[in-house]
């Protein structure tokens, strides 16, 4: 009983934090219109959002085209883009926050940055359009790029900073939208969370039982129900998922 009282304040704070997030339902078309405004301001013809997929292994990570307005032959253009710059973009996202810029094929194609020191130039003439890509590294989730492409792209440093900030916000909002889908069907109880936290901190069931004043069987039962609620196959996967979802730290 005492344990329940001790645990409730943090849970209350957590609820407030979650409520503070905008509850609005953002749809794909909202993102499209925001990106189209940015595209117009930059004088670009197309936009694309690439997102980093594949948790874990460096070799398993890859960028995929998640939102774009490449009208005809979108698949072909998307493949072309990733073939040309996918690998270098992936590497860049691991190391730097600087926007990428490249010249397209053709005489009148170029992209220019007013601050070459703070942009990274990619090999030119690999794609039909010039372009600029803003890397967005949020952390464990939702990383990627926002790209703008056209025949002539030459933003001022002011515009680059504004557009980079807006690009970050787009990916943050996309992640916030998905958060609802990530959440488990049934909320975890305080005791389940407490057991998971201690297990993640390296305690074995016996130690958790002693600290919480419960029997080992009860602790294992809590960890079992938490595993089921998180749709995990075992305790370790449950801990990984609980950290990613923010139940434990």
């Amino acid at each position: 009983m005492g344990m329940g009282i001790q645990l409730s304040p943090p849970a209350g704070i957590e609820a407030e934090i979650r409520l503070a997030r905008p509850p609005k339902a953002v749809t794909a078309s909202d993102f499209v219109s925001r990106l189209q405004v940015m595209q117009t301001i930059l004088g670009a013809g197309y936009f694309a959002v690439l997102r980093l997929g594949g948790h874990g292994l460096p070799s398993a990570r890859k960028l995929t085209l998640s939102l774009h307005n490449l009208a005809h032959d979108a698949d072909g253009h998307g493949r072309e883009l990733l073939d040309a710059y996918g690998a270098v973009m992936l590497e860049h996202l691991e190391a730097s926050m600087l926007p990428l810029i490249w010249d397209g094929v053709g005489d009148n194609q170029f992209a220019e940055s007013s601050v070459e020191t703070f942009t990274t130039r990619l090999p030119p003439r690999l794609l039909p359009w010039s372009g600029m890509a803003f890397p967005v590294r949020l952390g464990a989730h939702g990383n990627g790029y926002v790209l703008f492409m056209g025949t002539f792209i030459a933003p001022s440093s002011d515009l680059i900073i504004d557009m980079h900030m807006k690009s970050c916000q787009v990916l943050i909002d996309m992640l916030a939208c998905e958060e609802k889908k990530l959440a488990p069907a049934e909320a975890l109880s305080e005791r389940e969370i407490a057991c998971l936290q201690m297990a993640g901190d390296g305690c074995i069931s016996e130690a958790i039982a002693e600290k919480m004043g419960l029997s080992v069987h009860t602790v294992n039962a809590y960890l079992g129900t938490a595993t089921t609620k998180l749709d995990a196959v075992n305790r370790i996967q449950a801990i990984a998922k609980a950290i990613r979802l923010g139940y434990i730290t």
Partner: protein
Amino acid sequence: METIRSDAAAWESYGFSAEAGERKSARALLVQHLGRCTGHAGLSPGLRALTDYVSASHFLLLRHDVMPEAGLESVIASDWPFDMVRAIAGAILAGQSRMSELDKCLTLLKPCFSHLADDIAVPKGISREYCTIAFHVGRVRMSLLLLFPEHFILSQSKLRDVGVMTGYFASVCCQGAFLRQDREMELTEREVECLYWIAEGKTSDEIAVILGISRNTINNYITSVMRKTATKTRSEAIAWAVRNNLV
């Protein structure tokens, strides 16, 4: 450098926050100035210019890819009084590691205000409140912490500008020595691969089949990971890997 500061100061001295157009030119000047500070010796002058831009008084740039116990090892550059840095660096790292991964993602580049503990001595005329802006330079999460004069309100839009510009600046300035010590490098590709499959809920036997190596080899990899990461159980090793974005 002096010209930039006096220009920006002149705009600010007109009273309220400068007009949008003027703010933009101050920002463009600052970017140019930062472009000239990109050597390692330029780090502190560059951060000083960023601090001046937002009318703050002191800067502290921290990296979060070190253990919370590391304290001062996390400090990249600072002109805060040393006693203050020593008193709060550890607490700030610990606070960050208590935040959920999702909240860390959602608060990127958002200026966030906190209070210094009462037992920390603050220079005269400086507010007990400080501002934190977090960003990523590649895998490394960093925070810029700003002190500012008492009774002073910092412009939210300028703070966000400073977040992006500090990110650019650190991307250029900090690429050298200290971003190299990536902790992923300490673990081998095979060890990370094992961690990944364990986090996906696979048992040693299953991983042995997936990777085509023996169950004992897998267990050796995990033992080696636990030794390198100073973790006591498999669960703790996975929790460590998730927290450090390895899996």
